[in-house]
């Protein structure tokens, strides 16, 4: 069974002048259990909106999605239990320490106080947070914050992870720690959906890649498949050539 299924997802946003802007346009894809799926696309392609619909934060205008077999629209509580979600530009509680934040979110996920404390300690070690675990989050650097954020998404040890640009703005060291951790999650049998701007990162990490442009998938498959499709070798070139092709098609249609 596929861990994540999106079926014809559509999201319209009302515009200030009346009428709607379609951000996601009939998106369908699925991710098998234990895979890392990369969602790639230029700014405004609809990546973040798609991930928000998958996590149940946003209701799709039409279409459905299943996470771990649960319908996002009708079983939001079950979805939240099997899903770890790292949103883009997530903030942390500035006046709590990293450890307190992790204990808090563990508690919200139903862990008892001793279990939550233990789980927080475990994540602090795994993500190399020890040195700043007892500082207030407001005092942390971008990279440190992002590690705490990822730890936060993992408190319930969810089988499915959705990460919106997990390495945005990070230094090399933090970047490595985080990607290493995501790889280890795959080894542990978890399913990961990753949205990123860094193409070589996607090439390195992802089992399958979906290229999103103007709210719909223009290509999907493993890196070899995409190479054949575009006749290009480097992912950045594949990306550009496929987007150009899509724009030509759209120009012809209109």
């Amino acid at each position: 069974m596929d861990a994540v299924v999106a079926d014809n997802l559509v999201k319209d946003f009302p515009t200030p002048h009346g009428g709607d802007k379609r951000a996601v346009d009939g998106l369908t894809f699925s991710v098998g259990a234990g895979q890392i799926y990369g969602l790639l696309g230029p700014n405004g392609a609809g990546k973040t909106t798609t991930l928000r619909m998958l996590s149940g934060l946003m209701a799709p205008t039409s279409g459905t999605a299943w996470i771990g077999g649960y319908d996002v629209a009708t079983q939001p509580a079950e979805v939240k239990r099997v899903l770890g979600f790292l949103t883009a530009n997530t903030g942390l509680y500035q006046r709590l320490t990293a450890r307190e934040s992790l204990v808090y979110f563990s508690r919200l996920n139903g862990l008892s106080r001793p279990d939550a404390t233990a789980r927080a300690a475990e994540l602090i070690e795994l993500l190399g947070i020890e040195a700043f675990a007892d500082l207030r989050c407001g005092a942390l650097s971008t990279g440190q914050k992002q590690r705490v954020n990822i730890a936060r998404a993992l408190v319930a040890d969810p089988p499915i992870l959705i990460m919106d640009e997990p390495t945005l703005g990070l230094d090399v060291l933090s970047n490595r720690v985080i990607l290493e951790y995501i790889r280890r999650q795959r080894q542990a049998g978890k399913t990961v959906i990753l949205s990123t701007h860094y193409l070589d990162e996607a090439e390195d990490m992802c089992d399958r890649i979906g290229l999103l442009h103007d709210g719909h998938l223009i290509a999907e498959g493993d890196i070899e498949h995409l190479r054949q499709l575009s006749g290009e070798h480097r992912l950045s070139n594949i990306f550009l050539s496929l987007i150009r092709a899509d724009e030509q098609v759209e120009a012809m249609v209109s």
Binding site: F13, P14, P16, R52, S55, G56, L57, M58, A59, A77, K80, R81, L83, F85, T87, N89, T90, G91, L92, Y93, Q94, R95, L96, E100, Y104, F105, R107, L108, N109, G110, R136, N149, R152, A153, A156
Partner: protein, 711 residues
Amino acid sequence: MSAPHRIRTVYWKELIDILRDRRTLIAMILVPIVLYPLLMLGSIQAVSYQSKSLEHEKVIIGVYKDSHRIMVQQLIGYDREALEAKRRAVLKETGKKPDLPEPFEDAKIVVFDTRDELEKSIEARRVQIGVVFDGDRLPDLNEYGRTIKLSLLADVEEVRSQSAADRFTAMVRRVSKRMLDLRLNHENLPEAFVDPVAVKTVNLSSPPSILGQILPLVLVLMTITGAIYPAIDLTAGERERGTLESLMVSPVPVIDLIVGKFLVVTTVAIMGATLNLASVTATVYFGGFNAIIAQHGQGVPIMTLVLILLCLIPFAVLMSAIMIAVCSYARTFKEAQNYVTPVILAVLIPGGIAALPATQLSGLMLVMPVGNMVLLTRDFLLGATIPWLTIGMVLVSTTLYAAAAVAVAANVFGKESVVFADAASFSSVFNRSLIRPAPRPSVSMALMIAAILFPVWFYVQGSLSPGPGESASDLLWGTARLMPVFFVILPLLLIAYWKINVVGTFSLRAPGVKYVVAALLIGASAWVPAHEIDVLQVHLFGLPDAIAQQFEAMQKMVSELSLPEAVLLIAIVPAVCEELFFRGLLLSGLSSAARKWTAIVTSAVVFGVFHFILFKIPVTVGMGVVLALLCWNSRSIVPSMLAHLLHNGIGAYTALHPEWQRVIGINDSESFAHLPVAVLGVGLVVFAAGLVLLRTPRVAGEPKASAASAP
């Protein structure tokens, strides 16, 4: 983790979070502890310094004739004599030296050329008062038969002029008294000759009434100030700092988050107001200002302050709920502050009305949000005896408003359009084309409608009460006409606007036969346990006069009707309207978030409260539970309507045919007597049979109610 655990987790986290915030600490601790005593010290000292300096300031008295100058000096001389005489008299009587005012010897007298010039100088504030005599010679102190006539010119808007005028008037009064004494003495008449009636007003207000009128309003302000910052920080702040999304993907129901946050805001508001009050108290007592305040009243007893703190809790609860609800709409701090400002004004208006001395805690004011609490606090402080019914009304309506506000907050907080600034504008919450059809109303909508209807219905009922000379049955006719409008048509319009399924909301389905039978059994026998509960209450608490009068008035109203009229007004209309509202809209709204028994009991309590009579609450709540159970189990509104109809119908018949009471074994003269054992036994058995039938598991083949389609 259960809901209380989750709420506790959220509560402690948020409390720690907010208390670590420097801004909270400054607003909550630094301001009251440092600023208030300083301000108070400063202002009180300034005031007392000013009044002292006014007393010692040289007064300039203007006249426009030299003869008047001499007359003023003479008058001052008479006053000295009068004071001296008084001093001697008191010394002789008590043996102590009396504390008398100082004579007006320090005044400087300036002579102007014309009266016009004198008046202009007073207007220009160069001279404090002017004195104009009729005639050019003052009589001697012991010269009888003449009245000294003089005009005192002053500018009462100007504090120095006013103060000088007061001193001059007091002096004239002393001289007048002295002259009167001499005259009485000369004629050998007692003092009583000129004072046939002596009135002395004894002030029994405790504490001073100014305090009672101002403090409640100050209290509102303190509590609001305490609630604003945490409310914004915990709602809009969450969104602004980007932590809201993480919170929303946690498996915690929004209502738990909101309740936790609401409790933190309440806590902080109460803590803040307590500190404020404590700081003011400490300043007053340890700063020695109680004596100054006591000059104008009787000081502030400590017990009063404790009472104020107790009154503060429901205040804080309501204000925190309102603040959380309002701020939940906001995405940023700035936006939240913009929303909060008009709310504060809206709160101050009823608070201000309530602070007016003439406003009474009755009628519409009983259910006026905020206003009723201000009045209750005021009456408390003034030491008035407040009936329990009034206190209950205020607390129940306040609780209802607070619950509705929290429910609204839970409905709005984390809504897509609020979470994502880029998703849609705030107006989309109200944009009908974006509303999705729903099978049932939400809890917040149901509670909101109930909370709005509560004061409206109370007011409608109050305005329908017959005045002198009007027919008593007008109340019943008016109620019967308006009930369908307020309980059915208006909610129906709202339901239709929000695209909510009408059939599902009002449970408009055909019932199973056995539920009809159960309803008939219950409807026919419910008066038996209801009567016994009434009897029990009368035995335990006695029958308050007000309730007895109400019963009598009701009896009289019904007796003016014919039987078909009584059945229509008392049985049919209430049964249809109240069932559609309480067991339809309210129960189905509650069922969308609460468990079966929580929903049933909550709807029953609201049903009971809507009857506005404390005495009837046990019976109406009990009836509410049974009727809600009928509706819930049968998934249809029909059985509860039937039972309600039958129950009220029996009541109407009994009221029209008092002889019926004898048939069932109640003595005419004692309507609150126990039923005969046989009637009681049969009644309870029938009632129980109805309940048992109602509780029997569903017969196979009948559609099973799933969680999603239950009423």
